[in-house]
């Protein structure tokens, strides 16, 4: 049935309301009190839209210099919120960051790594976010700015659930903070493994990040292990970490320790990528391999 033949019919409410502020302060002012959306790399922003256009205000953080770059600070490292995964992969960082840099190279594809940002990965709060497990093993903190001033949260307290974060209205992430970790006896070695049903551009079935420090006898002094895609939010595995503490730094010992440990933090689901049972088993196997790879990496240096 014919209605009519207009050439343009655009309500005023659809006029562009797009902003690229230069400072965090300007960004916060633009975000205050409205239904504004933040645009960072765009790699999650646009897929979530489908064919729709975003309604309301969009605040693009791409021009804010203060949100970019990786800086050495007195007691750790500051990774600007808008730092892309490519920048992290290429950055001159100590071995503590090897796991994070491996994860950076597993985020989607080169195209995604060139655009997608570290804070965007956290704020998107996907259970399969590649950046979260390595950052959990680094005890990373999230630096926020908002209408009520700046604040910091441990990463584990920032991501609350599937697509759910502790971001308050009008608040943005400004940086990820990674504290120094320099154990007495050996430098920390880190690693990351991702398991998917194909090589590139794949959402994980499971992924593991590990950070290991050996003690004075060459045994595992401290191990931090985090698993992603096997629970609503990636989790550190306290039982595994406890079981590894004091274990011999050998494949057999690590396998034995991990085999007995509880994976109480994991609550995997059945989905199109894998069954829950498989995820639990694969996670355990990947934990062994990731911990051993971290140790071996140390041995090779």
């Amino acid at each position: 049935m014919q209605v009519r033949t207009p050439d343009s019919h655009r309500p005023d409410s659809d006029r562009p309301d797009y902003h690229r502020p230069n400072t965090v302060g300007d960004a916060l002012a633009l975000l205050a009190g409205g239904e504004a959306r933040v645009l960072a790399g765009g790699t999650d922003f646009f897929p979530a839209l489908g064919g729709r256009r975003p309604r309301g205000r969009v605040v693009d953080l791409g021009r804010i210099a203060a949100l970019r770059g990786i800086a050495r600070q007195r007691d750790g490292w500051r990774i600007g919120a808008m730092t892309t995964w490519s920048e992290i992969a290429r950055a001159d960082l100590p071995p503590l960051f090897d796991g994070l840099r491996l994860a950076a190279r597993e985020v989607g594809s080169i195209q995604i790594q060139n655009a997608g940002t570290i804070a965007g990965n956290l704020c998107n709060a996907s259970p399969a976010a590649d950046g979260v497990p390595p950052l959990l093993t680094l005890d990373a903190r999230v630096e926020l700015a908002g209408p009520n001033g700046p604040r910091e949260l441990p990463l584990g307290d920032f991501i609350l659930g599937v697509r759910k974060t502790a971001l308050a209205p009008g608040e943005i992430v400004t940086a990820i903070l990674v504290p120094d970790w320099s154990p007495a006896h050996s430098p920390v070695r880190t690693h990351f493994l991702k398991l998917g049903a194909r090589r590139y551009l794949v959402i994980s079935i499971a992924m593991v990040a590990a950070a290991v420090a050996l003690d004075g006898t060459g045994r595992i002094g401290e191990a931090r292990v985090a698993v992603g895609a096997c629970s609503a939010v990636a989790r550190r595995l306290a039982g595994v970490e406890a079981a590894l503490r004091g274990a011999e730094a050998s494949g057999t010992a690590v396998r034995a320790a991990v085999a007995e440990a509880a994976l109480a933090e994991l609550s995997p689901i059945d989905d199109v990528r894998a069954s829950a049972d498989y995820r639990r088993d694969a996670a355990r196997e990947l934990v062994v391999r990731t911990v051993m790879a971290a140790i071996d990496q140390g041995a090779q240096r």
């Binding site: 049935m1 209605v3 562009p16 080169i110 195209q111 049903a197 194909r198």
Partner: protein, 912 residues
């Protein structure tokens, strides 16, 4: 500064391909859309709008990003480069284009801009990258045609030079239509709409099955400023279409009842595009009432019939019987049996369905991506209630098809809207729409028993296959008929019975997909062959070789080939590779450990052309007064290379250099019907028509000069020179009485393969030509994770005669990649895997090196002995992989895909 549109304060300034540009658009608009629709950069291709396919890759300040996940505003002040700009301004990019041409790294060409732009970013950083670096750089761009290997070859050879010389039959020349694909100039279905075209979108059902009523759609459309809202009541002709006579059961718009999730209930048409695309269709006035639905055949008997007259939702059955299978199985020394299943497989071409239509007087013209322009024309005419002559279908370049672009999809909607509005109307499916509603490979549930004697000779086979054909018939009858003819594999099976059934369910229609059910049946028969060989203690290749059909043997339909049954040659060619692979696997496994090496082999066959049905192709060619040779080539080239192959055959038959032949078409107004690009028929059937046409034209020319059959024909500048031992005759074209207004001399020839109908037991001559193939898969299984890593595929294919060996390799590699996906990762689940990150197809990192062994047995009927090839490539791959997995770890995966969780569960079940 180059104004793109009349500027205002909202515009975004950037440097596009070295030129200052200002794009006047919403800064939040996707960069892909802004570049394509506002700046005219149609070389930026859109495949998914989600960063999942990489086709839209552009360089922003030198870095490759997906333009579909970048906001226009984000590139304010930046340098943006696209393929077309790069090739004209950067010598390195131009060299890369030559390398892509040289290696035939572009097939359909839709992913090529993304591939090349990504590769260029790498080459600028590393002039001589490793293969691993190439894979990492291109891992974000999906290709469904090539299997990636030739893309890797091209990038590694980006600094190379030269181009294979053109030539006739047997020459590995570059594609005649390749250059536009590697320079960004190629125009696909979404690239050809005029600026004033209105945009159409479909309103689709979220229910699998429902009754529905429409409300006041006119008022709804008027409130939103739409030009038109269409539904079933507006269809002027018969509101149904289909591809098999007697099975035209699919409405253009659902009428009263929804039969699958995603079915169209209405269409909205308006302008501008972004407004129409942004429309919230969730409040469209339609009320659904859910009805009991079935998504799998086992539930189909419990719901009301989808179609009148198809009782119990049985669409149709197929049957072949020979000898006394039941008795022979009783007497067999060993019998292997099993149940096997596969899921829906999505074609996953990177170009979503798109079309644009315009009314020209009392005719309607449609440009679209398609594999079957003449069938499309006839179906559209029926829907619109127009005579066929009033409909013109002009295929654009088609960005992959693999069977699904045979059926009508988007075309009739724009045709009807343009007809009613008398304005051009365009439509492009979103990726979700494309996956949710296009046809799929039939899911299969197969039971099979095969018996052999103590000498390892097959004595009988019994096959029962149930195929989920979805809500509408599409090519389901073809699958039901084809499978029983092929389920024996290319092996002597004296006693045989095969029964198939196509069952309706409330899913997207299953239709044609590379192999029409034969890949599914091979996934039952080939694993059972392994079991028989192993139980008899016979080498798995030798077992197949022993049973392989030879010239003079009868197939399961009683057909006997005196020449060209090449499966034995395929196994013989593989034999040394097989021995090497087995030895390497044994050595690798000797050390123990959790990585186990496995080697698998499988054979396959496929009949070229329609099953026991006429399927002619016609080719027209002519000489203009100026001496140009024009070839009216209506076989749609969807990337497989028919433009090149048909031209090579024609040029050889006529006896002129292929580069002097100009291709016209395809276009239903100017090219005669060359049938559909399907059933691996174009090289064989249209190729024969081209050969006959070339020969006829040659005979006419030779008669003009009264010269011998061996005379050389040289056509130039308005004259023909005919040279033989007796000297040279010169004929001035202007002095001849023209055959037609277009041509001084022309010829039209048709070829229809000789087949015969099958009797009630399926006995007869279903195809004039069978192509055969055998492949070896070598892989590793991680026994603790269940993951599979492919090491190498070796593919031996009897193509009769390779018209263009480079194109043969491209077909093989692309088919193998699809076989890998079928085996290891692909499954469409309605409502769940409707995008390219949940529906996984292989990436560049998932396809191992592929060695292609071309066997040329010379076919009795094919042009210069050539057979079809497209579908054969896929058939042995998945069973070879599954056989290799079983060889590696003992676990037999019978329910595809063999994802890590299934493989690990199967390994554990063995230990339990």
């Amino acid at each position: 500064m180059m104004p793109m549109q009349t500027g205002n304060a909202t515009g975004v300034s950037l440097v596009l391909n070295g030129q200052l540009a200002r794009i006047d658009a919403d800064p939040v608009e996707r960069l892909s859309l802004a570049l394509r629709e506002r700046a005219g950069a149609r070389d930026v291709k859109v495949g998914c709008d989600a960063g999942d396919c990489g086709a839209c890759t552009v360089l922003v300040d030198g870095r490759p990003v997906c333009a579909c996940t970048t906001a226009l505003g984000q590139v304010e002040g930046a340098h943006v480069e696209t393929l077309a700009g790069l090739v004209t301004s950067d010598p390195q990019a131009e060299a890369l284009a030559h390398a892509f041409q040289r290696h035939q790294a572009a097939q359909c060409g839709i992913c090529t801009p993304g591939m090349m732009v990504s590769a260029l970013a790498l080459l600028r950083a590393q002039a001589e990258p490793s293969e691993e670096a190439v894979r990492d750089a291109l891992g974000g761009v999906l290709c469904r045609c090539t299997g990636y290997r030739k893309i890797i070859d091209a990038v590694l050879d980006a600094r190379g030079t030269g181009m294979p010389a053109p030539g006739g039959v047997g020459t590995a020349m570059a594609r005649v239509d390749g250059w536009p694909k590697v320079t960004g100039a190629e125009l696909f279905a979404d690239d050809v709409a005029p600026a004033d075209a209105l945009v159409l979108r479909l309103v689709r059902s979220p229910h699998h099955r429902a009754r529905f009523t429409l409300g006041d759609t006119r008022a709804w459309g008027a409130e939103r400023g739409l030009a038109l809202v269409l539904s079933a009541a507006d269809v002027p002709g018969e509101n149904r279409f289909g591809v098999i006579p007697g099975f035209e059961d699919q409405p253009m718009f659902a009428q009263g009842e929804i039969r699958f999730r995603g079915e169209a209930v209405a269409a909205v048409v308006g302008a501008p595009a972004d407004l129409v695309n942004a429309l919230d269709l969730s409040d469209f006035p339609v009320a659904y009432e859910d009805l009991p639905a079935a998504l799998v055949p086992s539930d189909a008997g419990t719901i009301a019939d989808l179609h009148e007259g198809r009782e119990g939702n049985v669409m149709c059955r197929g049957f072949v019987r020979r000898g006394e299978p039941e008795a022979a199985l009783e007497r067999a020394a060993v019998v292997a049996e099993g149940r096997f299943s596969t899921g829906f497989i999505e074609h996953g071409y990177i170009e979503p369905e798109a079309a644009v239509a315009r009314r020209v007087g009392d005719r309607i013209e449609i440009q679209c991506c398609t594999q079957a322009p003449v069938m499309n024309r006839d179906s559209i005419a029926r829907l619109l209630g127009l005579p066929k002559e009033a409909v013109r279908v002009v295929p654009t370049a088609t960005g992959g098809g693999f069977g699904s672009k045979l059926d009508l999809t988007s075309q009739p909607y724009v045709a009807l809207a343009a007809w009613m509005l008398n304005r051009p109307v365009r439509v492009t499916y979103s990726r979700v729409e494309s996956i949710a509603t296009s046809t799929k490979r039939h899911p299969s549930e197969i039971r099979m028993r095969i018996g052999a004697d103590t000498e390892g000779r097959i004595v009988a086979a019994e096959f029962d296959g149930t195929f989920n054909t979805g809500a509408y018939a599409s090519w389901g009858p073809t699958v039901a008929n084809r499978v029983p003819i092929h389920a024996s594999g290319p092996y002597r099976t004296p006693n045989y019975v095969a029964r198939s059934a196509g069952i309706h369910t409330n899913t997207a229609p299953a239709g044609a997909f590379r192999g029409f059910g034969v890949p599914q049946s091979a996934l039952a028969q080939e694993p059972l062959y392994d079991e028989l060989a192993n139980r008899l203690g016979i080498d798995r290749l030798d077992f197949r070789r022993r049973n392989a059909l030879a010239n003079g043997d009868a197939t399961v339909t009683g057909q006997v080939f005196e020449r060209g049954m090449g499966i034995i040659d395929c196994f013989d060619a593989l034999k040394p590779r097989w021995e090497r692979a087995l030895a390497e696997a044994q050595a690798a496994n000797a050390g123990g450990g959790h990585i186990r090496r496995g080697v698998g082999i499988a054979g396959g066959w496929y009949g070229c052309g329609n099953t026991s049905m006429s399927n002619p192709s016609t080719i027209r060619a002519g000489l203009t007064g100026e001496g140009r040779v024009m070839l009216h080539q209506g076989a749609t080239d969807i990337g497989q290379g028919s433009n090149t192959v048909i031209a090579q055959i024609f040029a050889t038959a006529l006896g002129v250099p292929v580069e002097t032949v100009t291709i016209v078409g395809p276009d239903t107004d100017v090219t005669p019907d060359a049938g559909k690009t399907s059933a691996s028929r174009q090289t064989f059937v249209t190729g024969n028509a081209a050969r006959l046409c070339g020969e006829a034209l040659r005979a006419r020319l030779l008669r003009l000069g009264n010269v011998s059959d061996t005379a050389r024909i040289v056509i130039s500048d308005g004259e023909i020179r005919l040279c033989d031992a007796d000297g040279q005759r010169v004929i001035a074209l202007a002095e001849l009485t023209p055959d037609s207004t277009a041509y001084v001399i022309e010829a039209v020839e048709t070829y229809d393969p000789p087949t015969s109908p099958l009797d009630e037991n399926g006995q007869g001559v279903p195809y004039a030509v069978f192509g055969t193939a055998a492949q070896i898969a070598e892989l590793e299984v991680d026994m603790r994770l269940g993951t599979v890593r492919l090491l190498r595929i070796t593919a031996a294919h009897d193509v009769g005669k390779a018209i263009n060996p480079l194109l043969v390799e491209g077909q093989v590699q692309g088919g193998v990649a699809q076989g890998i996906g079928l085996a290891l990762m692909e499954e469409f689940l309605p409502g769940r895997t409707e995008n390219l990150h949940d529906y996984l197809i292989p990436t560049i990192g998932d396809v191992p090196p592929i060695e292609t062994l071309i066997i040329e047995t010379g076919d009795m009927h094919g042009p210069y002995g050539a057979k079809g090839l497209g579908e054969h490539c896929l058939i042995p791959t998945a069973p070879a992989i599954l056989n290799a997995i079983a060889d590696a770890c003992g676990a037999r995966i019978t329910d595809l895909p063999a994802t890590p969780d299934k493989v690990l569960a199967a390994i554990r079940a063995l230990r339990a």
